[in-house]
């Protein structure tokens, strides 16, 4: 009877006690686990940040690598190969100069040109923005003169590729050398990687 008379007071006290017990059990008893949980969250956030940084660095490195390759390619196209109007006569003059230097002067020079394709061949051949120009000639010379001429072409500052060599006996001391050399010129519209210059 006396408990029923004070039930409101007892009820309020009971609720307050229960709430404090619940709070105590969840915060105080699991205090360390909550601190650990917060540290774990920080570690996860740091891990995520590291991953994102790596991905960003990879993407930027890829971009930088592309730019570097693009510059290198453009350097070869612009400086080494240049365009036909700028370098063709210099190339022909070099061939004649080296022939004179090796004492084997050709009477005839034949010229040819074709558009250069990439290595994929005919299946998906695609223009790489360069054209091949070949120069063929025939000289009669001793074997030593032939070797000297070949060596001079290899050492030339011009971008000269010896494409093919044919030898035939002209007389007991001399050979007829058919030599085909080639070079490359950048096409006027070429830009590396399709990017503007």
């Amino acid at each position: 009877m006396i408990w029923q008379e004070k039930r409101v007071l007892l009820g309020i006290l009971g609720v307050l006690l229960l709430a404090n017990v619940v709070f105590f059990l969840t915060y105080r008893v699991q205090y360390q686990s909550r601190i650990d949980e917060m540290e774990e969250r920080r570690a996860q956030a740091e891990g995520q940040l590291d991953r994102t940084k790596r991905q960003r660095a990879d993407a930027e490195m890829s971009l930088a690598a592309y730019r570097k390759v693009e510059r290198d390619v453009q350097l070869v196209y612009d400086e080494t190969w240049s365009t036909q109007p700028k370098r063709l006569t210099a190339m022909i003059a070099e061939v004649k100069r080296l022939a004179v230097a090796s004492n084997a002067i050709p009477r005839t020079l034949s010229f040819g040109k074709s558009e250069a394709k990439d290595l994929a061949g005919t299946r998906r051949s695609k223009s790489v923005g360069a054209r091949e120009v070949s120069i063929g000639f025939s000289v009669t010379a001793t074997y030593e003169q032939v070797r000297r001429m070949i060596n001079l072409f290899e050492l030339s500052n011009q971008f000269v590729i010896i494409d093919e060599i044919n030898l035939a006996e002209a007389d007991p001391t001399k050979l007829t050398l058919n030599l085909r050399i080639k070079t490359l010129f950048r096409e006027e519209r070429t830009t590396a990687g399709g990017a503007g210059l």
Binding site: G14, A59, E60, L119, V128, A192, G193
Partner: protein, 191 residues
């Protein structure tokens, strides 16, 4: 004489002491727990303040990094990688052709040719794998010229897989033969 028990109370007597005892105990217990809980909460907030600030800072940095990564990837998507790759492979192939030493090749061929065999023509072909395939045309005064040349090439570390294409003999008795062989100039350098 019988004593008289006077009851002058206005209402019946009730003993509330147990109730008050419980109320006091509950109140003390609640007060103790409440103080403890408030202390715990304040300590938790204080101790995790720097950690929460760090987490917020890290998450902000992550957002910045993600934005930069997306920007870089966006720029990469706009580039013609296939075209640049084709140009790079093409240039590398041409540089390899340019670097090819005919003088060294002729030296090597001189070292393996028999006295009765002479070279008429040579043409290289640069493969995608980086090998150099040579097509060679020879003349020989003897019938064994082709076999001798193949055997000598097989014994030489810079020539591999020598294989004949044709052999013929003309009216004067001179033999002509063609060979295809893989040339490995790099091995000669490393040797």
């Amino acid at each position: 004489m019988k004593p008289i028990h006077l009851n002058l109370a206005a209402r019946p007597y009730r003993d509330y002491r147990p109730v008050y005892a419980v109320v006091v105990v509950l109140s003390l217990l609640t007060a103790f727990l409440m103080l403890n809980n408030v202390d715990t909460y304040l300590r938790y907030v204080h101790e995790t303040k720097s950690t929460r600030a760090e987490i917020a800072q890290i998450e902000e940095q992550t957002r910045v990094e993600t934005r930069k990564e997306q920007e870089a990837k966006g720029r990469l998507k706009g580039l013609d990688l296939a075209h640049l790759d084709a140009q790079t492979r093409f240039i590398n192939a041409k540089l390899a052709e340019r670097a090819f030493s005919w003088s060294r090749l002729l030296d090597e061929l001189e070292s393996i040719l028999a006295n009765d065999v002479r070279l008429l023509s040579v043409g290289p072909r640069f493969t995608d794998e980086g090998d150099i395939q040579l097509t060679l045309n020879f003349q020989s005064k003897s019938a064994n010229g082709m076999m001798t040349t193949i055997n000598r090439m097989n014994a030489h570390p810079q020539f591999k897989e020598a294989f004949p294409t044709t052999e013929s003999q003309d009216d004067t008795g001179i033999f002509s033969f063609d060979l295809a062989v893989t040339y490995l100039p790099e091995q000669g350098v490393a040797r």
